[in-house]
């Protein structure tokens, strides 16, 4: 086994420990990943970023110079940032996003920018202007979305950890489909400054990693107030690195609308979910059924609210100040707008802009936007009621394992249902984590693929969430086989 492969088989936390112990340097560690990312055949990377001139890894920094890859929705000064869209194909931001800056300040090295669904709109990464991303577990299948590049890069051994964003499930669902840990923190925990907005009241950034400890490490560095984002309040008490190994005294609720009674959950996913519940009980948790009566309306409300906000958020891409402009000297203003946006934006983005514009239109506002806000409030109330009786809630993350490329591309509604279990949590602004809990064969047959367990906590209870996830992770011993195969360390156990 090459040194590079050996280094890439480690989790981020393990690698940092070994750098500190002097077993290898951050430069060697970064070089191993840059070399691997340069050979990316998953289309996960849009750009691999070279080590910056004068960059000096500091082993005493929290991240000790480790390379971290970033979804291309985060602005990085001087480094192309596209949000997966043709309209920003040549855009180089004049500033760096707060979340990214905090990782850099914590000693990270920017490894590269990762492919994604255009403006984070999608659940399969097939909506990228720069081509679909392949799932390293099965290259005929999608990695999930919209943080598909982030998931594929980490699961494919091309990055030790990645940043993603989650609006309705865009971290958790790809993490589930690629066998990774994906954390969406509480809305407001991490600054959104520099994260290209899709739906501002829902967007939240978080890590995709191979272990719970890695997710805790990155989140602990990123959370906090930010004077550039008045909605960023941080997590009171911060995030502790988890070390719990049991679930004694914890009450786990299983909302029947998102689990037992949910339609469309694959048999294999259901079986692995049940197995995880049994394990939680073995670890000392009290597991019982609960209800979220309004959660089934989550998708409908989400597909009014998120497009409504997006229709305004994407209005700035008009060809005037930056990005693509399609016009000639004969064009008037309206023609420039129309041609620029027609050429620059993809079909799913246009669909959502139209949906959102319609939902906000005079005469329709109350029936759509107003009504969806009411549903959102009711869903929040449901969670509040459930958390009166339970410490955490658990559901499957995704109703299915990774699906075939193209399988849902022609059917937007089927695609939207991929986020059935994750969207209600986003609407309530709560923290949730997807933990790989086993493998299952898809309903349409084929090799076994990862299944995600979604754990949901009350607002700002990230430490509780990570502690529980850590205990389950340790007991499950999930083997991220794709990473081993991709790296070429089939014999060794990863993580």
């Amino acid at each position: 086994m090459s040194l590079g492969a050996e280094l890439r088989a480690l989790s981020l936390t393990e690698a940092i420990e070994q750098i500190r112990a002097g077993r290898f340097s951050a430069v060697e560690y970064g070089a191993a990943y840059r070399e691997a990312a340069g050979r990316d055949d998953l289309n996960a990377y849009l750009e691999v970023v070279a080590v910056r001139e004068g960059e000096q890894p500091d082993p005493s920094a929290p991240l000790a110079g480790a390379p971290i890859a970033i979804k291309d929705i985060f602005c990085t000064e001087g480094v192309a940032t596209t949000a997966g869209s043709r309209i920003l194909a040549n855009y180089r931001p004049p500033y760096t996003a707060t979340a990214v800056q905090r990782l850099l300040d914590g000693g990270a090295s920017l490894l590269g920018k990762l492919n994604m669904d255009e403006f984070a709109m999608g659940s399969s990464n097939e909506n990228s202007a720069f081509g679909p991303v392949l799932n390293p577990w099965d290259r005929d299948r999608v990695p999930g979305g919209s943080s598909g590049g982030s998931a594929a890069a980490v699961a494919g051994g091309l990055a030790p950890a990645a940043l993603g964003t989650d609006t309705g499930g865009s971290i958790r669902q790809p993490a589930a489909l690629c066998g990774l840990v994906g954390l969406k923190p509480t809305y407001g925990a991490i600054s959104r400054y520099g994260m290209i907005a899709f739906a501002s009241s829902l967007d939240q950034c978080g890590p995709l990693t191979r272990t719970v400890a890695d997710a805790a490490l990155l989140s602990s560095l990123m959370e906090g107030v930010d004077r550039r984002d008045s909605t960023a309040v941080g997590i009171p008490g911060g995030i502790a690195i988890p070390n719990r190994t049991d679930l004694k005294g914890l009450r786990l609720g299983v909302p029947r609308e998102l689990a037992g009674e949910a339609e469309g959950i694959e048999a294999g996913v259901r079986a692995q979910f049940e197995r995880a519940l049994a394990l939680c009980e073995e670890l000392g948790a009290a597991v019982a059924e609960t209800e979220l009566p309004n959660a089934p309306h989550g998708i409908s409300a989400y597909y009014v609210l998120a497009p409504a906000e997006a229709s305004a958020n994407l209005a700035r891409f008009d060809g005037v100040r930056y990005g693509l402009r399609v016009a000639d000297h004969q064009s008037d203003l309206t023609e420039m707008y129309e041609r620029t946006r027609a050429a620059g934006l993809g079909p799913e983005v246009k669909r959502r802009i139209m949906l959102g514009t319609y939902a906000l239109s005079s005469g329709y506002y109350d029936a759509y936007y107003g009504q969806a806000q009411k549903v959102r409030t009711k869903i929040s109330d449901d969670f509040r009621a459930a958390f009166a009786d339970f410490d955490l809630l658990v559901t499957p993350t995704s109703p299915s394992v990774a699906f075939k490329l193209g399988a849902r591309a022609a059917d937007p509604l089927a695609m939207y249902m991929s986020d059935y279990c994750t969207v209600p949590i986003s609407l309530a602004g709560l923290p949730a984590l997807s933990l790989p809990c086993g493998l299952a064969a898809p309903d349409d047959g084929g090799p076994e693929l990862p299944v995600g367990l979604q754990i949901v906590a009350p607002a700002f209870a990230e430490s509780r969430l990570l502690d529980a996830a850590h205990a389950i992770e340790a007991a499950l011993g999930f083997d991220c086989a794709a990473v081993r195969r991709e790296i070429g360390v089939e014999g060794a156990r990863n993580g």
Binding site: I73, F74, C75, T81, A83, L88, Y91, P93, P94, Y95, A97, R192, Y193, G194, M195, I196, A197, A199, S200, S201, R227, R228, D229, S230, T231, A308, E309, S311, A312, L314, A315, R316, F317, D318, V320, R321, Y322, D332, L333, Y337, T357, L360, S361, S362, Y365, Y369
Partner: protein, 478 residues
């Protein structure tokens, strides 16, 4: 024409004189090199977020309180969506259903609402059209983009153009004295639109209104409103109908053109701005701001008339001009002259002397408040006459000094020695026998040549009223 009355409401945009912009930390500027006071936030770069300027919110609350508004305990920002190159985000952050302030009153006009928002950038169009359509190219200067604005909307309480102008001057003076804006119409820090309709007198229903946009001087506002009222009356009298439209008044030609008719009215698709937290000023903060408000023109005018007995015109002039009022009060505090005499000096002779000397205000001149107080005292005590006082004032404005010392040194005191003056009047009557006869016969106007003789003899230092009194007494008229 007498059958109709106009119903006018005003919408005023005022740039707040904060250090930085509404939602980013760029400096405010006017006339700077284009696009230097910009940053990723006010240029609408992807990923940027607005953060409210606390000073602007405070100015907003001050303004709303000064206009007698109720302050909303919790108001939110909305996005007002439309595409235009002067709008970097494709939406303007404004307030919609819950404005910062509502239900106020200034003078005789009720305030409907006062809300905070951000200004758009400045466009200039190259080529002959002067508009974006048909221009060779359009340039955008984002220095102005994101400047804090307060939009003040009145109820339709105004009935004619002159009152609109007068009320707007009261508003400007109020905002200037608050210190929230310099309200300079030429530079666009105060901009006014007017909603205008007409109806037959006695008709309770409002007519269809038109909106007259962006008039950039008080004179143009008055003329523009007058022209639009006349246009509407003419239209209706000819059997036509007023259509809802946005109008532009060209002050050069005096003509009105339609900018936008109703069919092209925007649907702004307002919705709550998710990037900003609600404005929820505490009761303590509101009370603190209210307590710190300076005396505003309306209150000052009332006090000057009611408590000091100053004539209405002078009280209004002082009410609108804080610097003059401050000077007046400082002089008054020194004693020696009555409030109404002093107010007459400040708003009359002093204002004229300053104008003549090219000074913008008394602060630019060499005159001190004690100088004016002493001067007004000398005149009121008849130590010198008003004409001499005026001459000394002109000197004080340019050189300063102590009027008492000047009068003594130059012997400018009135000839008030009764015997001496009496003797001169006797000589005057003897020298002008024809005039003396006419006055004796009841022709008051004929007194001129006699007074003129006395003034010549005394080098203008005789007290006019006293001279007249003596003439009449000597002719046996009293």
């Amino acid at each position: 024409m007498a059958d109709f009355e106009a119903v006018i409401g005003l919408e005023i945009h005022v740039q707040l004189a904060t250090k930085t912009k509404m939602f980013c930390s760029c400096e405010l500027s006017f006339g700077a090199e284009p696009n230097i006071h910009t940053c990723p936030v006010c240029l609408g770069h992807p990923g940027t977020l607005p953060v409210s300027n606390e000073q602007a919110i405070r100015f907003g609350i001050e303004t709303a309180l000064a206009l007698g508004c109720e302050i909303a305990p919790r108001s939110i920002f909305h996005r007002k969506n439309y595409f235009y190159p002067d709008l970097s985000k494709g939406y303007q952050i404004s307030q919609y259903d819950i404005p910062l302030g509502s239900s106020g009153r200034l003078g005789e006009v009720r305030i409907h609402r006062a809300h905070l928002e951000e200004d758009a950038a400045k466009l200039s169009h190259l080529g002959e059209s002067g508009r974006i359509d048909g221009s060779d190219a359009s340039l955008v200067d984002f220095n102005r983009g994101g400047t804090p604005l307060i939009e003040i909307v009145t109820e339709p309480d105004i009935r004619d153009a002159a009152i609109a102008r007068e009320w707007l001057q009261l508003l400007r003076s109020t905002l200037r004295q608050l210190g929230v804006s310099d309200c300079n119409m030429e530079e666009g820090s105060l901009r006014c639109d007017a909603n205008i309709s007409i109806r037959r007198r006695g008709e309770p229903e409002l007519g269809v209104k038109t909106e007259l946009k962006n008039m950039n001087s008080f004179r143009f506002i008055e003329r523009g409103i007058e022209a639009e009222i006349a246009r509407q009356i003419e239209l209706v009298e000819a059997g036509g109908r007023v259509d809802q439209a946005t109008m532009h008044f060209d002050p050069a030609s005096g003509s009105l053109t339609v900018l936008r008719s109703k069919e092209f009215a925007h649907d702004y698709r307002y919705f709550p701005e998710p990037d900003l937290v609600p404005l929820a000023p505490s009761l303590e903060l509101i009370a603190e701001i209210r307590a710190a408000l300076p005396e505003l023109p309306e209150t000052r005018i009332e006090r000057y008339i009611g408590e000091l007995g100053i004539p209405g015109d002078a009280a209004r002039v002082l009410g609108f001009d804080a610097a003059a009022a401050e000077f007046f009060e400082a002089a008054l505090a020194l004693g020696g002259a009555s409030p109404s005499a002093l107010s007459g000096w400040v708003t009359g002779e002093l204002a004229a002397a300053l104008r003549e000397a090219g000074h913008a205000g008394v602060g630019d001149s060499a005159l001190s408040s004690s100088g004016l107080a002493a001067l007004a005292g000398l005149v009121e005590a008849k130590t010198i006459n008003r004409r001499t006082g005026r001459e000394i004032l002109v000197r004080l404005v340019s050189q300063g000094g102590d009027p008492v010392a000047i009068v003594e040194a130059e012997g400018l005191g009135s000839v008030s020695d009764a015997d001496a003056l009496s003797e001169i009047v006797d000589r005057a009557l003897a020298a002008q026998p024809k005039a003396a006869d006419q006055v004796a016969a009841g022709n008051q106007k004929a007194v001129g040549p006699i007074v003129g003789f006395v003034m010549r003899e005394t080098k203008g230092r005789a007290d006019g009223p006293e001279v007249t009194r003596l003439i009449r007494a000597k002719l046996g008229l009293d």
